[in-house]
Structures are given as structure tokens and as C-alpha cells.
């Protein structure tokens, strides 16, 4: 039996969350959404997920902070975390990598490439 891959998307932009939701649910993924790093931590405290896709620039707790917090504990140490961002600087990419991100995707995302990346890291 194949289980549905559960994804949490973390982005402060409702427009971007809607685009992500459409791109992923249309490919059969089970998608939940959080509006920033704090909301993501709250959601993850009560729910299970297979892949996290997070923006960087967000209020309260940004993407770097979210990745660091998730990697601190054992529960999410090996959880695939993809960063999806408008940032193009090598310095920020390196920072995400050091924090423990699994991959880096530059917006505007190509739905097919995004889905391929999710499938690759979730298996």
C-alpha cells in the first residue's frame, strides 16, 4: 500500500501558499500550511509530516530559525526540509545548508521541478 506523502508548506504570503497548495495537491500530496516559523512549530508539535517546504523571509520566526529549531531535537533531525525562496545569494544558501536544509529552490518555482524534488527527498 502506498501512503500519501504529507507536506507542510511554510510561507507568510497567502498567494504563495495558494500556488503551492494547488501545485502539490493536484499531484496527490497531502498539504498543510503554516504562515511563519512559529505557526509551523506549533503545527508540528501536534502533527506528523514527511517533508517541510519553507520560505526564508517571514515574521516572528524566519526559515533559518525554523530549520535550526527543527534540527535541535531528534524528532525532525532527518526530516527533509526544502527551502523555497526569492533569495538568490550564495551566502544565504550556504546559511540554509549549515542550518540543516535538505535543498534550495528558487522562486518562482516550476511545479514539475518542485514535485520532482519532493518525491526525491521523501523516498
Amino acid at each position: 500500500m502506498t501512503e500519501t506523502t504529507r507536506i507542510l508548506t511554510v510561507d507568510d504570503s497567502p498567494s504563495m501558499r495558494a500556488l503551492l497548495n494547488h501545485a502539490l495537491t493536484s499531484q496527490g500530496f497531502d498539504v498543510s500550511q503554516a504562515e511563519d516559523g512559529i505557526a509551523a512549530l506549533d503545527w508540528l508539535a501536534l502533527n506528523e509530516v514527511d517533508v517541510v517546504i519553507t520560505d526564508i523571509n517571514m515574521p516572528r520566526l524566519d526559515g533559518f530559525g525554523l530549520i535550526e529549531r527543527l534540527r535541535e531535537g531528534s524528532r525532525h533531525r532527518d526530516r527533509p526540509i526544502l527551502v523555497l525562496t526569492t533569495e538568490s545569494s550564495e551566502e544565504k544558501k550556504a546559511r540554509a545548508r549549515e542550518a540543516g536544509a535538505t535543498g534550495w529552490i528558487v522562486k518562482p518555482f516550476d511545479p514539475q521541478k518542485l514535485v520532482a524534488a519532493v518525491r526525491r527527498v521523501s523516498h
Partner: protein, 186 residues
């Protein structure tokens, strides 16, 4: 403050910076003025009245990806251009909750073309609504080109109709090659 027109001034000269199609520029410098000429394109001006930071983009929605109806527009690229402006504003100390918006442009300059001006305007309005950003003023649609001058530090703005030849009609284009959603797994 955001709705005051720009008045002539004998004070020190203004640094006038043209915002080109596909660009998003942000500044908190009092002597900077962003300027752009719009036909079918739309310019979003954002201003944070507390941080005294403002920004302008100039966008034309890209054509839809292969396989999508030709009447559709590429919202991924449009959303990206909007987010680029918002993120630059946040990087200069603005808060999203305080942002005030103006929208200009979106004329259907060439009546034989698809109504790309209307599509751009509708997308921009929808984006602001979804993001919860206050739209204070808009001058959208019609068939005439517009010139917009915007002082980002004060939020002052001026929009005038200009001759269409200053803003030649443009067709939607494919996404820039750099904006292809590249994926790098670590």
C-alpha cells in the same frame, strides 16, 4: 501622507531612477524618485508610513507555461515579482501589516491584442486582497499610457496620462531564463 501629490520644490535635486519592466526597487532616501511609464504593465507602489520606506515594481504577467490556455497568465511569475518587492521592503525595515499600496497602469493600449492590461490589473488587485495590504488609490485600465513618479521615503506619488508612443504596447513574454525554479539538493 501617501496621498499627497508631488509638489515642485526648489530644494536639492532629485535622484530620478527609472523602474524597468521586471524590476522592483526600494529606497528610504528622501531625494530618490522612482519613475516609470506604463502601457499594459502595472506598477505597484508600496509605502510604510512609519519606517518611511517605499518601493515600486513594474510588471507584465508572463505568458502561460506550455499546456495552459493562452487566455491564462503565469501567476507564479507575477506572485514572484510581487514577493520580490515586499521582501525588499521588509529588508529595509518595513512591516507588512503597515504597508499601503497604490496601483497604476493596466491599460489595454492595443485593442487588437488580448486584454493583457486588464489581466495585469486584476492580478495586482487580487494579490493585494489576498495579502491583506490596503489599496489606497488605483488608476488602472482605459486605453492610455501613464507616467508614474513616486517618492519612496515620503510616499508622495504623481500619475499622469502620456502619449502612447512613450509606452509601446508589449506582448506577454516567457519567464526570464533566470526565473526557472532551479532546484539544488544538498
Amino acid at each position: 501622507m501617501f496621498e499627497r501629490p508631488i509638489l515642485p520644490s526648489a530644494a536639492r535635486p532629485v535622484d530620478r531612477i527609472t523602474v524597468m519592466q521586471g524590476q522592483a526597487l526600494v529606497s528610504s532616501e528622501p531625494h530618490v524618485e522612482f519613475t516609470t511609464v506604463l502601457g499594459s504593465c502595472v506598477a505597484l507602489c508600496l509605502f510604510d508610513p512609519e519606517a518611511h520606506v517605499g518601493g515600486m515594481n513594474h510588471f507584465l504577467l508572463a505568458e502561460p507555461p506550455p499546456g495552459m490556455p493562452v487566455t491564462a497568465v503565469d501567476e507564479h511569475y507575477g506572485t514572484y515579482l510581487m514577493e520580490l518587492l515586499v521582501n525588499q521592503m521588509l529588508g529595509k525595515g518595513a512591516r507588512k501589516i503597515r504597508l499601503k499600496a497604490h496601483l497604476y497602469g493596466g491599460a489595454n493600449v492595443n485593442r487588437n491584442m488580448m486584454k493583457i492590461g486588464s489581466a495585469n490589473a486584476e492580478f495586482a488587485r487580487g494579490f493585494l486582497q489576498r495579502e491583506g495590504i490596503d489599496l489606497l488609490r488605483s488608476d488602472l485600465g482605459g486605453t492610455a499610457a501613464r507616467r508614474v513618479d513616486f517618492r519612496p521615503a515620503s510616499g508622495q506619488v504623481r500619475c499622469r496620462m502620456v502619449e502612447d508612443r512613450l509606452a509601446p504596447p508589449v506582448q506577454p513574454i516567457a519567464r526570464p531564463a533566470l526565473a526557472t525554479g532551479d532546484v539544488e539538493l544538498f
